[in-house]
């Protein structure tokens, strides 16, 4: 059964400019760029390290549930 919910990793698509920084530095390959915006392709693999939130220049991805 899935332990991750949509609330653990949140994307603000309107703010995403599709630079790909979060995709490149995600250690678990959770993210991808789809149609010019970030997309969560494998939420199950997310270890909630927060590297994406730390380096997103557009504040468009962050860990929730805190």
């Amino acid at each position: 059964m899935s332990t991750k919910t949509q609330a653990s990793l949140i994307v603000e698509k309107n703010w995403c400019k599709g630079c790909g920084i979060c995709v490149a530095f995600c250690p678990k390959n959770v993210l991808e760029i789809k149609d010019g915006k970030v997309n969560i392709k494998d939420l199950e693999s997310c270890i909630e390290c927060g590297q994406c939130e730390l380096r997103c220049p557009d504040f468009a991805i962050y860990l929730g549930g805190k």
């Binding site: 603000e12 997103c56 504040f59 962050y62």
Partner: protein
């Protein structure tokens, strides 16, 4: 919906910001906010002052007391604010051109006075807002729209400049070493005196494209691979240092702070009344 941090400290109605895709300025801005949050400072006791340039647009997105001033003069305005209200935490956000070209004089004198201001320079090696002209930190040989055959100037080492001018806290970090940057902003704010933090950031649109540095990610990988922590850097030979740059807390010292000295003069007169 934005994160708690962004909701608390940003003017979210002004977001998304105007910075280009992959521009590192947003990463530095968030790091500053995170440092303020970690310190638990009162928002109303913070004043963010910025000059002109891409980085200086940051003040407009932040929900503190903010002043967006004229080109190169952020530190002059900040000096006035700090003297009028010494209890404020005054933070200056500036760029490499703003701080070290037109504002270079203000920078060295603010450092010399050791006034309690934390200055964070977003160094992207170019004038991004006006189209990629070379700046005092564009590495020798690199191109800008005003240096189509390569820059013949020697670029400034801003940290060495700030240290020599008298800053009592000097550090450098990058948008890749973000946690280090957050810690440095915290320590800079805590330092009672002039703190100078150089945040190496990226301009993929102008500097990156003009110098074939690749996309935003490639430029971040470059920062990751060439930044050497100060402890390790000291042990490297001159040859091994080629192409590398030092990050970390470069200099710390203790000497009288300007507004306190100023107050001492005021007090010496009020005693006589």
């Amino acid at each position: 919906m934005p994160s708690q941090l962004v909701k608390e400290y940003f003017r979210t109605e002004n977001l998304p910001h105007i910075w280009c895709p992959g521009c590192g300025n947003g990463i530095v801005t968030r790091a500053i906010v995170k440092a303020i949050d970690n310190l638990g400072l009162n928002k109303d006791e913070i004043c963010v002052v910025s000059g002109i340039g891409c980085s200086s647009r940051a003040s407009g997105y932040l929900d503190f007391n903010t002043v967006h001033t004229t080109h190169g003069r952020a530190l002059a305005f900040a000096t006035g604010i700090k003297l009028a209200k010494p209890n404020l935490n005054v933070i200056v956000i500036t760029g490499d051109g703003d701080a070290s070209a037109i504002g270079g004089n203000h920078l060295i004198h603010a450092a010399r006075r050791n006034i309690d201001i934390t200055t964070i320079v977003f160094n992207n090696n170019t004038y991004g807002m006006t189209g990629g002209q070379y700046s005092p930190t564009t590495p020798t040989g690199d191109k800008g729209t005003t240096a189509p055959f390569g820059n013949i100037d020697t670029n400034f080492d801003l940290c060495e400049l700030a240290k020599a001018a008298g800053a009592t806290y000097v550090s450098r970090s990058t948008i890749f070493t973000t946690n280090m940057l957050i810690k440095q902003v915290e320590n800079g704010i805590k330092n009672k005196g002039f703190s100078f933090i150089e945040a190496l950031t990226t301009c993929p649109t102008y500097y990156g494209r003009k110098n074939r540095k690749g996309e935003a990610v490639d430029m971040m990988v470059y920062l990751k691979e060439n930044a050497i922590n100060i402890a390790a850097y000291d042990k490297l030979s001159e040859e091994q240092r080629e192409g590398k740059f030092v990050v970390g807390e470069i200099y710390k010292s203790n000497r009288p702070e300007y507004t306190e000295e100023y107050q001492r003069i005021i007090d010496s007169f009020s005693k006589g009344v």
